[in-house]
């Protein structure tokens, strides 16, 4: 069945916080050198890409995402629009904590998606926010959504219609700076596919 590319999910580049293996959430670190290189590579790849005319770039307001978006927008000659719909999952008190040490705590909130993380938001809240945002956004084609790994994982969950992906649990939709294509087929069913960057094959079993 023929499918059409309608949008790109762009994961921001690497930061020191990624390297430190802590929950980034609402921490606002800038891209490190590696992250900048990743964003530049993504920008070049997207510029050469065919199959979809890119009309706009929407980014999470977090600095790392905005920097990534700016690098891409410079390459494409488009302006970046900030939207809080794409902001990272607010992990409240977990923000800045070691991911391995607090894995069990995070699992608790993933397995109980209605329970909000203290001082933060629940997984359900994140899903609802992203569902409302993407549902509205995907009505128009040709947008690059620059966002965070947890958001990429959740959006892919929403597209597949299941909860296989566990955001922030070490599972990656794609490596930092990677790009995922969002497709739609003739029946109106969405699907995703990693376009640029390294896919974490272990992440999903559809």
């Amino acid at each position: 069945m023929a499918k059409t590319l309608v949008g790109l999910l762009q994961r921001h580049g690497d930061t020191e916080a990624n390297e430190a293996n802590v929950f980034r959430s609402r921490l606002d670190p800038p891209l490190n050198n590696e992250g900048i290189k990743q964003a530049e590579a993504a920008a070049k790849s997207i510029a050469k890409m065919k199959g979809m005319k890119i009309k706009k770039i929407v980014s999470s307001p977090m600095l790392r995402a905005l920097q990534t978006a700016d690098i891409i927008s410079e390459e494409l000659g488009l302006k970046t629009v900030q939207d809080r719909g794409l902001i990272s999952w607010n992990l409240g008190f977990l923000t800045g904590m070691d991911k391995d040490k607090y894995k069990d705590v995070l699992d608790l909130y993933i397995d109980n998606p209605k329970v909000p993380v203290p001082d933060g938001e629940s997984l359900d809240d994140l899903e609802t926010r992203l569902e409302e945002f993407m549902d509205e956004e995907l009505r128009t084609e040709g947008t690059i959504y620059v966002t965070h790994n947890s958001n990429c994982v959740t959006i892919e969950n929403l597209i597949r219609g299941n909860k296989d992906g566990r955001p922030e649990s070490g599972e990656k939709s794609v490596e930092p700076g990677g790009t995922i294509g969002i497709y739609v087929d003739d029946n109106g069913t969405y699907s995703t596919e990693v376009l640029f960057g390294v896919e974490d094959k272990a992440a999903f079993v559809s």
Binding site: E127, E131, R139, I155, L158, I159, G161, T189, Y190
Partner: protein
């Protein structure tokens, strides 16, 4: 008649303003309130002998010159506080009174700017005042009226009227703005004078017979010929000719015509209350109690044209300026300076040249006993002004004097207790703190500016002229000759060591700005719920209570002042509105009608609401309501009354959700509005009852006639008469003046409930055993309640679902019966069976039972595969994973 009412006056005979020849100098014959607001009273303007008039002016002079030094001091203190609030804080006392600013430059040009920039204000005083004012003005004080004599009917009626009137007064005066004014004056100036009067003001409230100018319909660009337009109607209202008619006219004639017409206009009036601070009013400072004050003076600086409009009979004599006494000059400069918001004691000359000081002085009769007043003048003054006198002066001119008691119009309040009239203000303790904050912040600022270390550079190695001309080098640079003993590096550039500021100074400044000024002013964070210091359970609550106690005293004083002003406003309405009705729509109360004749007939007392607790903030109210909502979830009794329509409207209002629609709330409002009509008169005769009674009388007359003539009365007619008699007995002879709907277009249950609440509340009980008129009003509401209840029952009966017919089924466990009995039982129910079938069933059951006990668990289904560890399928209606689809 609207809330603004025309005064019963036949004035307006005076001719136009400004004409020396035609100006009528008798105030009783002059138009009042046409050109500017005028404090009206039905008391006539006094016709005094020259001696008595001179004595009155002399008494005014004595009042002005009393307490000269103390007055100057209180003016300077209030003036300083008002400057401080604005942020003009580097003030030095001027030699001749008032304030000068150090280093006051023009700020034009570089040198001027540099001079002015040496001092800055770090305004802590003003924002702390904002906190106190916000806390004090959370909610307008509530006042209640009571009959002066609870057993005297006219007093009871007057108190009811006054209770309605207070809402009109509150609406017309924007009491919240008045409360903010009063609170701010408590903070800066301390003493507040509240002046309540009936103000005639055509410019503000319009004139009798004014109509709103119609406008062109929005969907019509070219209205049909003859459609009135806004302009023509406006011209009509203003008494001007239309532009077509005007072309041939003489402009002077037109103005003359407008002038004479405006004098015939009758301006509308209102009861007005305003607040005035220390700069505006003067009282004898050493007197503790208002009722012992022989005089009170209030000065207003008005544009000279407004002053002329206020007193048209002396318009051409009024000039800019004051009464000419030197004692009033400082007050005037202070008022002008503060209102112009200019620095120091500077006042622009143009304003002094335009403004006339209008001074109202109230005297108690005791003032006429002053030794400077001659016996003849004394006798005349006491006779003409038995209640005391109000003397009005415009500049140096005598405007009028009339019999008026200051107790009927003025109330004086202080934020804090004390002796005399110049007491501590709410903010006065912070002034000295503020001065030191400014000094120290300036000191620190100066330190940072000046202590960029100086750099010395080797004059032989560097081109010093070029370096000095470089504009972006901070810190000064100087040349030096190589000195013995310096290191090689220091022989080229030597930087002085950086001085260190007093390490304690920044912390000290911080302490002054935060904790100390909060403690001293009472503007504590806990006033609005935030806790400071130890975060223990209950600590924020305790701190908030303490903070509220601090402002409890000023709050109670504000309540008393508002109650006194409300009572004075009622008296003004009673005396100035000529017994006419006031009708006004008040949002939230509906159409209110006040019969001012009833206000005049009785005496009322007014007190602040009996609950002395400080008003809660919105946050506190919301928290309380939210708490009750969550409690009502587990408490059905609480839920029942808390979530009733009457209370739900309060809940929605408390949560600040104006557009939140509460089922039944509109019916509550409707019923409350109907009370207003129901209580005006008693029930009316029931027309149905009257018709039946009339028919019965006719029938009885017919029967009598038949008996006289010996005719037989048919038995049908007798039966019909008996039926009518029964119907008459079942029909109420009177009904409520407001009929209830005979269908479901009204919420009968809610409205009946509201009537019930009212009847059993204090108001209802008061009416039940009040005057005959009140009892009739109560009966009217009672009948209205009965009608709603009857209709609600009727509707409930009509909507009741049909009753279920009695069940004919029965159940019996045939398995426990012998097979033969079971067969017979089923046969009766139409089910065919045989005893053998039952026997077979019983045998099989027994076999299963035996097998269950005999076969071990391990032998049961040995090859059954392990059950897959899967999640059970979601139940119908359970939440499904979301999926994005186009």
């Amino acid at each position: 008649m609207a809330a603004e009412d025309v005064v019963p006056q036949d004035k307006g005979a005076g001719s136009k303003l400004g004409g020396q020849d035609s100006q009528n100098e008798d105030p009783n014959e002059s138009p009042l309130g046409v050109y500017a607001g005028f404090p009206y009273s039905p008391e006539p303007f006094a016709q005094l002998s020259e001696e008595a008039k001179g004595a009155l002016i002399q008494l005014d002079k004595i009042a002005t010159q009393t307490d000269t030094y103390a007055r100057r001091m209180e003016v300077e203190q209030a003036w300083e506080a008002l400057h401080f609030e604005r942020g003009y804080q580097h003030l030095l006392r001027g030699k001749r009174g008032g304030w000068v600013l150090p280093n006051q430059g023009s700020e034009w040009g570089a040198s001027g700017q540099k001079t002015s920039s040496t001092t800055y204000d770090t305004n802590v005083y003003g924002p702390k005042g904002d906190i106190i004012v916000a806390a004090l003005s959370r909610e307008v004080p509530k006042v209640e009226f009571f009959p002066a004599n609870p057993d005297y009917g006219p007093d009871q009626v007057a108190s009811e009227e006054a209770d309605r009137f207070k809402d009109i007064w509150a609406r017309n005066n924007n009491l919240h703005a008045l409360l903010v004014d009063c609170s701010r004056m408590f903070w800066n100036e301390g003493r507040v004078l509240m002046w309540t009067r009936y103000e005639l003001n055509g410019q503000k409230y319009g004139f009798e017979g004014d109509v709103k100018a119609p406008t062109v319909p929005e969907d019509e660009q070219n209205p049909p010929d003859g459609t009135p337009t806004g302009q023509t109607a406006l011209d009509e209202v203003l008494g001007l000719e239309t532009s077509e008619e005007k072309t041939s006219g003489d402009v002077e004639d037109l103005l003359n015509a407008a002038g004479s017409e405006s004098e015939d206009k009758k301006p509308l009036g209102r009861e007005v209350t305003t607040c005035h601070g220390k700069l505006d009013h003067k009282v004898p400072i050493a007197i503790d109690d208002f009722h012992d004050m022989p005089f009170v003076q209030l000065s207003l600086d008005l544009d000279v044209s407004t002053a002329r409009g206020m007193f048209p009979w002396i318009a051409d004599k009024i000039n800019p300026g004051t009464d000419g006494m030197s004692e009033t000059q400082l007050d005037r400069i202070a008022r002008e300076n503060v209102r112009q918001a200019v620095l120091g004691a500077y006042v622009t000359g143009d304003s002094l040249e335009r403004h006339t000081t209008v001074k109202f002085t109230w005297f108690r009769p005791s003032m006429f006993l002053d030794q400077g007043v001659s016996d003849e003048a004394k006798a005349e003054l006491l006779e003409v002004f038995p209640n005391g006198a109000l003397l009005a002066r415009a500049g140096a001119e005598f405007a009028f004097a009339r019999n008026e008691s200051m107790d009927d119009h003025l109330v004086i309040g202080h934020p804090l207790p004390g002796k005399g009239q110049n007491r501590r203000t709410l903010g006065s303790a912070l002034i000295s703190i503020q001065k030191r904050i400014n000094d120290w912040v300036d000191l620190l600022d100066d330190f940072f500016k000046r202590t960029v270390p100086k750099k010395w550079m080797n004059a032989e190695a560097f081109d010093m002229e070029a370096v000095k001309n470089e504009p972006n080098v901070p810190g000064s640079i100087g040349p030096f000759q190589v000195q013995p003993g310096l290191t090689t590096m220091d022989q080229y550039v030597f930087v002085e060591p950086t001085p260190q500021p007093q390490p304690a100074l920044p912390d000290f400044i911080k302490w002054f700005i935060t904790n100390l000024s909060e403690e001293i002013s009472g503007a504590l964070p806990s006033l609005f719920g935030a806790a400071t210091g130890e975060q223990t359970v209950g600590n924020p609550q305790i701190q908030r209570d303490q903070a509220l106690q601090r402002i409890g005293c000023p709050w109670n004083n504000i309540q008393d002042m508002f109650a006194a002003a409300a009572e004075q406003a009622v008296r003004c309405a009673a005396e100035c509105r000529d017994g006419k009705e006031i009708k006004q729509n008040i949002p939230g109360r509906g159409n209110l009608t006040v019969n001012t004749a009833n206000l005049l007939a009785g005496k009322v007392l007014c007190y602040a609401e009996s609950n002395p607790a400080f008003p809660e903030s919105w946050q506190q109210k919301e928290a309380k309501i939210e708490n009750m909502i969550s409690m009502s979830a587990s408490n059905p009794l609480l839920a029942q009354w808390f979530l009733g329509p009457s209370n739900l409207a309060e809940v929605a209002s408390g949560l600040r959700m104006k557009k939140f629609k509460v089922v039944g709330a509109t019916s509550v409002t409707k019923q409350r509005n109907e009370f207003e009509l129901l209580l005006r008169k008693g029930p009316m005769d029931n027309p149905q009852f009257l018709n039946m009674q009339s028919a019965m009388q006719k029938a009885q007359a017919g029967v009598q006639q038949a008996q006289v003539t010996g005719q037989q009365v048919p038995p049908e007619a007798q039966a019909m008469m008996a039926q009518v008699q029964q119907a008459i007995q079942a029909t109420p002879p009177q009904i409520s003046t407001i009929q209830v709907a005979q269908d479901e277009s009204e919420n009968h249950i809610v409205e009946a409930n509201e009537c019930f609440e009212w009847m059993n509340d204090t108001d209802g009980q008061k009416f039940k055993s009040g005057t005959p008129e009140q009892q009739a009003g109560y009966a009217n509401v009672h009948l209205h309640w009965q009608a709603h209840v009857a209709m609600a029952k009727k509707i409930m009966a009509a909507n009741k679902p049909p009753e279920k017919p009695p069940s004919e089924s029965f159940s019996a466990d045939v398995s426990k019966m012998p097979p033969e009995v079971a067969t017979q039982m089923l046969a009766k129910m139409g089910i065919q069976s045989t005893p053998a079938v039952f026997q077979q069933q019983a045998d099989t059951a027994l076999q299963h039972k035996v097998a269950g006990k005999a076969i071990p668990e391990a032998l049961k289904q040995p090859n059954e595969p392990a059950r897959p560890n899967t999640q059970p399928a979601p139940a119908p209606g359970a939440e499904q994973p979301r999926q994005l689809r186009r």
